[in-house]
């Protein structure tokens, strides 16, 4: 890995010239049979993979309107062609969103449309060969499902939906990705992506209580498995031990402490992340989400709050109500959902983002801050893709952009925006989302970070920015890894609640 270098910044952010084949290769590590079988997929590439893959594609076309419409609707206008961070960073034309979709669309046309069956050469249709399957494994793992292309598409075609379908097909024929599938196995077995068992988790939390006591002199609790608590906090497991994630966990605990909110974590359900989304498998997505439902029912909580994690917030905000009934507005006859929805307190949004929680409390005057504590930081904010383009906050369009920024401005004095072409719904992915946060894809991750690094460099040079806040565990992990390769200090990255933690006044109010 020593030979991985950062690509040069573009002088002006021009559209790069094409370098066909630049990212050809074998793709990420393939899941072993043990990993595959643990989550119900064939252990190895099955004998009749061709027929099974086509059958699976037909199945998905019947289950997902998105896929069906997106396979037909593209006119090759090229609106998306320069929007993907992986294309910008790698210059490989197959990383243009439209070209990535066409890897599947070409097969769709061959097997599911008349022109493709009769005149494949005319409409760019092709047989599903072993080479095509290998190409899928490679290039559908060079997409972080960030949906930036979908913002610009005149028909809203979302490459993430296509990538998810492709990965689902690959899994169904025994050609899975090691990283994502191994992690999914861990969630089912232990309760979180990192494989932290309950005793280790308890130790960590006790250690945190001591650390905070030492630093502030205040007894801030990190409760676990407390029945009858008001709030169940579901947070990415990276928050329990990774840097800088853990500083945000301390921030949440301080907010709960300062507002007198009774809260708890769950040892059985100690993970907000849901890699079922990354592999596009509804059953896995649902099964992982059900752990949270189960924890909420067992602990009898009134509210569910989600920590700083991008895709987890998309799953929680957009999908939980569908998957597990965490939300509001189910039919009276919908027993599955009503069972939980009757228990939850609907004066509050269910689920709620920790930023919504904190911002509400700031609005009520329940929190006070010593903003000077953050004066050493000149802060900018990186919108995480799944929060920016796949969810919202505050119950109004754009709340997901305002609320984290409002919090930062409430707890710190120096805030600077990055170029508007790279924030809000136009934000660039960190380069590590959607199931590619693995060292076997480090080259891709470094190159994919290029557009964000360019504008970060800009605000660093112009405004002396030395802290980039974000609300995503993957962004935090990805940036701490790749930023040193671009010449930045890895400590420049941190969570919004890390800043809250620095400035919050505990005890006396």
């Amino acid at each position: 890995m020593a030979d991985i270098a950062a690509p040069a910044y573009r002088v002006i952010p021009i559209i790069p010239v094409l370098k066909p084949g630049a990212m050809e290769g074998k793709g990420p590590f393939i899941a072993s049979d043990k990993i595959q079988e643990a989550i119900g997929f064939p252990g190895q590439l099955v004998e009749d993979w061709h027929d099974r893959a086509i059958a699976k594609m037909g199945d998905l076309l019947g289950k997902y309107r998105s896929l069906k419409v997106y396979m037909d609707a593209c006119v090759h206008c090229g609106a998306c062609s320069d929007k993907c961070h992986y294309f910008i960073g790698t210059q490989d034309p197959k990383n243009m969103p439209v070209a990535r979709q066409d890897l599947m669309r070409s097969v769709y046309r061959r097997y599911f449309t008349w022109p493709g069956k009769l005149f494949p050469w005319l409409v760019g249709a092709r047989d599903l060969t072993r080479e095509v399957l290998d190409e899928w494994h490679n290039y559908f793992h060079q997409c972080s499902e960030c949906r930036r292309c979908s913002v610009f598409c005149p028909y809203g075609i979302d490459t993430a939906e296509v990538t998810m379908a492709a990965r689902e097909i690959l899994d169904s024929v025994g050609y899975g990705q090691k990283y994502s599938n191994e992690i999914i196995g861990k969630v089912h077995k232990i309760g979180n992506n990192l494989g932290l068992p309950a005793p280790a988790l308890r130790d960590t939390l006790e250690g945190l209580e001591e650390d905070v006591k030492e630093a502030t002199g205040i007894d801030v609790r990190f409760p676990m498995d407390v029945k009858g608590a008001e709030v169940l906090l579901i947070t990415p497991s990276a928050d329990f031990f990774a840097e800088p994630h853990i500083d945000s966990l301390i921030g949440y605990a301080k907010v709960f402490h300062a507002t007198g909110t009774s809260w708890t974590l769950s040892s059985m359900s100690s993970e907000a992340a849901n890699f079922g989304m990354f592999i596009g498998n509804y059953e896995q997505l649902r099964k992982i989400a059900l752990r949270i439902r189960q924890a909420a029912l067992e602990l009898g909580v009134k509210r569910i709050v989600v920590g700083e994690c991008g895709h987890a917030w998309r799953v929680a905000y957009s999908f939980w109500n569908t998957l597990s009934g965490v939300g509001d507005g189910a039919d009276e006859t919908d027993q599955f959902a009503m069972m939980l929805q009757k228990q939850l307190d609907h004066r509050y949004k269910q689920p709620m983002h920790i930023c919504e929680f904190t911002w509400d409390m700031i609005g009520q005057g329940a929190l006070s801050f010593d903003k000077e504590a953050n004066d050493k930081h000149i802060i900018t904010f990186h919108d995480s893709c799944n929060v920016a383009r796949g969810s919202s906050m505050g119950g109004y369009p754009g709340g997901q952009f305002d609320i984290p920024r409002n919090i930062i401005k409430a707890v710190a004095n120096n805030f600077v925006e990055m170029s508007p072409a790279t924030t809000h719904e136009r934000t660039f992915c960190c380069g590590g989302g959607g199931g590619v946060l693995t060292d076997d894809l480090l080259d891709l991750r470094v190159k994919g970070a290029l557009p964000r690094m360019e504008v970060l460099q800009q605000v660093k040079d112009e405004h002396g920015v030395n802290f980039m806040a974000c609300i995503c565990a993957i962004c935090k992990a990805q940036f701490t890894k790749v930023m040193p390769i671009y010449g930045f200090d890895r400590k420049m990255v941190g969570g919004v609640h890390q800043l809250v933690s620095n400035a919050i006044k505990l005890g006396a109010k």
């Binding site: 076309l61 019947g62 289950k63 997902y64 309107r65 998105s66 069906k68 419409v69 037909d72 609707a73 006119v75 090759h76 206008c77 090229g78 609106a79 062609s81 320069d82 034309p93 243009m96 439209v98 070209a99 066409d102 008349w114 022109p115 050469w121 005319l122 409409v123 760019g124 949906r147 979908s150 913002v151 610009f152 598409c153 005149p154 028909y155 809203g156 075609i157 979302d158 509804y282 905000y317 957009s318 999908f319 939980w320 109500n321 569908t322 009934g325 939300g327 509001d328 507005g329 189910a330 599955f336 689920p351 383009r389 796949g390 919202s392 119950g395 369009p397 754009g398 809000h424 719904e425």
Partner: protein, 241 residues
């Protein structure tokens, strides 16, 4: 020749209507199991109607993406719409007032439509990225529109056709009282290409026209926390355990 064209146009219309109905029905019946609107997503159905209107009438997303493609694409589509409306006069008697009023605009729209197609084709040929993603059918589609526009403009501005007879032919088709089609190469080319266009519509990228209305990332209201959204096949999973 009149009989041939009569049969061709009946056939083309049949393929177009049945094929399109089949596709639209398939889109409508395929469930969207998850809420996936793309930001900026409105919270309400009214908001979705507004968003879709902006998308369909002004190509809002494309405007954000690329000004050249937007300008040429919008010019082409707006011109095409005007031209189509202008052509209503061949199918109605008496001609509605507003259709009569737009006739002069419709004529020039034929020219701007041609400019739009030419510009889009130029982009497809000269921009490396767009050339890379183009298939032969993408080029042929533009060629088709170009022939339709050129043959139409020829009849309007150069070799005039007996439009009264053309109208008689069209009305005859509609009321099953067949008339003679004037002999004209430009007219034959025009009608033949229009028939081809109608027939490939339900099996080609022209499906973007109905498709946009069914795109979940554009047509869903962003209210997943307020209202439980669940597809029938997904609901089934709940009774299984």
């Amino acid at each position: 020749m009149s009989t041939l064209f009569a049969i061709l146009l009946y056939l083309a219309t049949l393929v177009f209507v049945v094929g399109l109905a089949y596709r639209v029905n398939a889109y409508a019946r395929t469930p969207a199991p998850l809420k996936i609107p793309t930001t900026p997503a409105p919270n309400t159905t009214g908001g979705v109607v507004l968003r879709m209107s902006r998308e369909v009438l002004f190509f809002e997303s494309l405007f954000k993406a690329n000004l050249w493609t937007w300008g040429l694409g919008w010019l082409f589509h707006a011109s095409l719409a005007l031209v189509l409306l202008r052509h209503l006069r061949y199918f109605i008697e008496p001609v509605w007032t507003w259709v009569a009023l737009i006739q002069p605009f419709g004529m020039y729209a034929g020219i701007t439509m041609l400019l739009g197609v030419a510009g889009l084709w130029g982009r497809r040929i000269f921009v490396e990225r767009i050339r890379y993603i183009s298939t032969p059918s993408d080029h042929l589609m533009l060629a088709l529109f170009m022939v339709i526009a050129l043959s139409g403009l020829t009849m309007t501005f150069a070799a005039h056709t007996d439009v009264i007879s053309v109208k008689g032919f069209m009305l005859g088709l509609m009321y099953f009282d067949w008339q003679v089609l004037p002999a004209s190469i430009a007219l034959y080319a025009h009608l033949l290409m229009v028939a081809v266009l109608l027939m490939i519509f339900p099996v080609s990228k022209l499906l973007h026209a109905p498709g946009v209305f069914f795109s979940p990332s554009r047509n869903q209201a962003d209210n997943p926390r307020e209202k439980r959204h669940i597809a029938a096949w997904a609901k089934q999973l709940e009774s299984e355990n």
